[in-house]
C-alpha cells in the first residue's frame, strides 16, 4: 500500500511519534521509507540475500515492539533503526560465519542465482560491452568489500550508501567519532589495495 499523502510531508521522527501513539499506518510509512536502507546494511554485513531479508523483518519487528524506547532527542529514527539492524546483522553474521566461510564458493553461486531480478543491471538498456564492464565492476567491488573486517565494511557502507555523518555512524556502531574516522580511512586504503591488486 502506498503511503498516504500527508505522510510524505512528515519527518521520520514525526511518523515515529504518531506510531508510538498507536498509528500502525504511520509505522508502515516508516517501513516503506527505510526497508531499502536496512536491507543494504544487512546485506553488506551478512553477505547473503536471504539472511539480509530476515534481518530486515526482524529489525522492523523489534522496532515496532520497542517503539516506546525511541526518543527523538537521543537519535534520529534512521540512526535508531540502523543500530537495531546492525546488531541483528552481527548476530546473524556470527551464527553463520563458519558455515558461510566453509561454503563460500557455493554460497556465492547460489547468491547470484537467486538474485536474478534483484540484479542492479537487469533491465538496464546498455550495450553488452558496457553492461559487462558494469557487472565486472560491481562484483569486483562486492568481492573487495567482503574482504574487509566487518567494522570497516559497515562504516564504509553507512557512509557510501546512507550518507550518514561520522557522528551518526558512531551512534549506529556504538563507538567514537575518532574510531569511525580511522575505520573509514583504513577501510578505504585496504579497499584500494585490494582493487588495485
Amino acid at each position: 500500500m502506498s503511503s498516504m499523502p500527508y505522510q510524505d510531508d512528515l519527518t521520520d521522527e514525526e511518523l515515529a511519534l504518531r506510531a508510538q501513539a498507536g498509528s500502525e499506518q504511520d509505522f508502515e510509512a516508516l517501513v516503506s521509507r527505510h526497508a531499502p536502507a536496512v536491507y543494504r546494511l544487512a546485506r553488506g554485513i551478512t553477505r547473503g540475500p536471504q539472511d539480509a531479508e530476515d534481518v530486515v523483518q526482524e529489525t522492523f519487528l523489534r522496532a515496532f515492539r520497542h517503539l516506546d524506547s525511541f526518543a527523538p532527542s537521543k537519535a534520529t529514527f534512521k540512526t535508531w533503526l540502523l543500530t537495531i539492524a546492525r546488531n541483528q546483522s552481527i548476530n546473524v553474521f556470527s551464527s553463520v560465519k563458519r558455515r558461510t566461510l566453509r561454503f563460500l564458493s557455493e554460497f556465492d553461486t547460489d547468491d547470484r542465482g537467486t538474485e536474478s531480478f534483484n540484479n542492479p543491471f537487469s533491465g538496464v538498456d546498455k550495450d553488452a560491452e558496457g553492461l559487462l564492464a558494469m557487472k565486472q565492476e560491481f562484483f569486483r567491488v562486492e568481492q573487495a568489500l567482503q574482504k574487509l573486517p566487518e567494522r570497516q565494511r559497515t562504516a564504509m557502507l553507512l557512509k557510501a550508501q546512507q550518507d550518514l555523518s561520522y557522528d551518526r555512524i558512531a551512534q549506529v556502531m556504538n563507538t567514537s567519532v575518532s574510531s569511525v574516522e580511522s575505520l573509514i580511512f583504513r577501510g578505504r586504503k585496504r579497499l584500494l589495495e585490494i582493487l588495485e591488486d
Binding site: E28, Y39, Q57, F117, P120, V141, A160, E181, F185, E196
Partner: protein, 148 residues
Amino acid sequence: MDCIEYQKNMSMLIDGEQGHLSLQALEAHLAACSGCRNAYVRMGSLNRILKDVDLYRPPFMLASRVKARLAEKNAPRRERRFPLAWAQVPLFAMIVLLAIGVGNLAGRSMTEILLGEQSEAKLEYLLTDAGLSFSDIVLDMGVEENSR
C-alpha cells in the same frame, strides 16, 4: 606531521567532514607531495565507485513483505477481543451443564431451573395448593383426552 595524517584528513574531507587540519594546510601539502595527491585522487574515485555501483539493491516488494509479516505478528494482539468471546462459549456451556446436573441432583427439573426462582415459586405454589404434582396434571390431561 606525516603523510598518513594528511591522508586521513583527506578521507574526512571527501566525506564532507570537518578535518583536524585547515584546508590551507592540506592544500599546501598536496601541492608539495605527489604521493598524497595520488592518494587523494584514488580515494575520490573509490568513493564515486561505491556510490555509483548500487550495491545490494533490495529485492522486489521487500517493504510489502515486511508489512505483511508485521500485520501477521500483530494480528493476535488486535484480534484478542473477538476470539476471547468465542473462547468463553465452552465455559458458558460447562456452567449450564453443571447447573442442570446440580439441579437434577437436587430433584429439580430443567424447567424449574430455566424458569428461575420466581416462576419456580409460583409453580410450586399452584401445584401444592391443588395437592397435585406436575406429573399428576399431565396424566390427568392424558386421561381426559382418552375419555373424549
